[in-house]
Amino acid sequence: MNEKLKETLLSILPITIMVLLIHFSTFASLDKVLLTRFIIGAVMMMIGLPIFLQGVDMSIERMGEQMSGALVKSNKMIIVLIGGFILGFLVNAAEPDIHIFSRQFAALTAPDRSHWIFVLIMSTGFGLAASAGLLRIIRNIKMRYFMAIFFGLLFILTFFTGEEFIGVAFDTYGATTGAIATPFLLALAIGVSSKTRRSTDEAAESFGILGIGSAGAVLAILVQGILLKDSNVAAVTDVAEISSRTLSHGTFFLQTMLETIQEVALGLSPILLSYVIVAILWIKPKKRDIRRISVGAIVTFLGLVIFLTGVYFGFLEASHEVGTQLALRGEMWLPLTVGALFGLVSVFAEPSVAILNTQIEEETTGSIRGKTVLWTLAVGVALAVTISILRILIPEFRIFHALLPVLGGIIILCFFVPDIFIGISVDAGGVASGTMAAAFILPYAQGIAKNTVGADPLIDGFGVITFIAMIPILSMLVLGFIYRVKARKAEQEQTD
């Protein structure tokens, strides 16, 4: 239990201390209302995170594992593929972020159409790609070919896509895999992989499904944009203004919590429902498992509601306020430095990152340490936020100036790193751009954009998540490259 406490403190304290430091250094001071909410939010995150992770361990991962067993035992590829598609589709369609993005999307491109069309398109893309990802695992097709093809297509399609559209489309990569989908799909893929292993060194094939799925969703949305040629930005309705200061703490808290409860219930429901169906028909779980999974589902629900309520209640507005005040000071280095630091510490608090890191350690039996991955992702996100803020501050700096080199770098690097790192890196991209990116970094960037001359908060706001998703992929690949160089050196030393 001591270990768990330490882990939690290490993940939430850095971001808390960082914001408090900025507050007390008076670069950007929060008022009483925001400060109180921020501290309450931080405490809730510290309580919610370990509860959520415990619940995931008890139920979500177990459900993913058992469903992978049911798929594999069918011994029919077509069942695995259809099952993979349905699960990928459902999990994605229930992702709250997908609905937010779809609404923005509809508002941007086709105000007369329902946002559900876009949810459908993204989820189909995700489901198809996730299904292909399972095929890859079973047939042992190397991840690097998959990655090169998917990212190659993204690279090419970017040229045919309107500039305003690029950011929104690529933001989907980060929106697709949230805190519930991540552990479920990871467990599903790892289960399929370990149940169809011909030798024990195939652990490298377990990862990559999240990233492939997300890339599939982005591809679907890009193709849609090109086919329907509606990538012209229509009259833009402004993003919802964040202002809850007039509400009392209690009202705002209740309102936030109710919204969060809806969000988490929606995210959990497709997994629970499909598990119940599969369990009754095929798995026939033991009593022990049923008890464990039901208790675990409740624990997951509670933990995530507490955690997310904390984030939305305390962090969203605080970071927006910090962004606003820093931009108003008119010095460029301030928002850049603070942005980089915010990016760094927000990764530690991201629940999906913690889940991915545990799985990486388990699957590689510790040869790739979670801490190393964590720091690599943190540096990647810090860089990503810096680029996004630069883009806001310098109007000439366009999104494709940074995106195309990053995509190119990813495609080239994936031929020079060990197999295991390729799967891990694509997964890491979607995982790094989770809750904290959407509810802490994005409001910060928007706060800056609103108060910078020449910046358009809507256009510049899109694309922030894009980089938080893409640059960690690059930084993980660089880590893989360093591993390879080091391994080669060690080999040479041994032969000497």
């Binding site: 361990d57 149940k195 292993r197 039996t365």
Partner: protein
């Protein structure tokens, strides 16, 4: 699967397998300590520990993350190794882990046999918890669970290709008598004497540290 594999040459052949279960993350330190003392070979793998608590077990949160270290040492340095483990890893305090020796060959000078034994039970993936339940009924608590692959024959074919079936290994230290009784009970419940149902073996233990209360293992 092995995290670290650095064979080192020593003059004397090792005659003791020193096994140790510690908290996740402490394995490397332990291996370094043992190698420093002269262990000829040490490997570390991930394992899960079970806590002897019924309530936690019912909720399914009875698992804790552990690392399992196997090291080969010479009998002459055994005492030293245990001193170091007690001092540096605090294995002589409750809750810090266990270590014990399995003699690799019958040694004429080996007098200090304990009344403890270790058991390894290898079953198909998913049956590990059934084994733990059987052990629990017999009052044997605190086993360690390792995920593994393989089997006597690679008969499993999935999607037109032969695969390595998943296994679970349960590993426990307890007094000799109940452990030997356990073999019979386990056979009754899980049909181990039938082909392809699993294997259970026991080993004598010559020395141990970190075990607490009768019939129970500290971890």
């Amino acid at each position: 699967m092995n995290k670290e594999q650095k064979p080192m040459t020593t003059k004397k052949p090792a005659d003791i397998l020193l096994a140790s279960v510690v908290t996740r993350g402490k394995g490397s330190q332990l291996m370094n300590l043992l190698k420093h003392e002269g262990a000829s070979y040490a490997v570390c793998t991930f394992a899960e520990g079970t806590i002897p608590s019924h309530i936690l077990n019912m909720l399914g949160i009875a698992k804790t993350k552990k690392e399992l270290v196997f090291a080969f040492i010479d009998q002459s340095i055994e005492a030293q190794c245990y001193q170091i483990l007690a001092k540096e890893m605090k294995l002589d305090h409750p809750g810090h882990g266990v270590a014990f020796s399995i003699p690799l060959c019958s040694h004429p000078n080996h007098q200090d046999e304990t009344d403890l034994a270790a058991t390894f039970i290898i079953v198909d993936e998913g049956k590990g918890e059934d084994v733990l339940d059987v052990l629990d009924e017999l009052g044997l608590r605190g086993g360690t669970l390792i995920n593994a692959f393989g089997g006597a024959s690679m008969t499993d074919i999935l999607f037109d290709m032969p695969i390595q079936p998943e296994k679970e290994v349960i590993f426990m230290v307890a007094p000799k008598e109940p452990l030997i009784d356990m073999l019979g009970v386990l056979d009754d419940k899980l049909d181990l004497s039938q082909p392809h149902q699993g294997i259970a073996v026991t080993f004598a233990i010559s020395r141990a540290i970190g075990l607490y209360s009768e019939g129970k293992k500290g971890k």
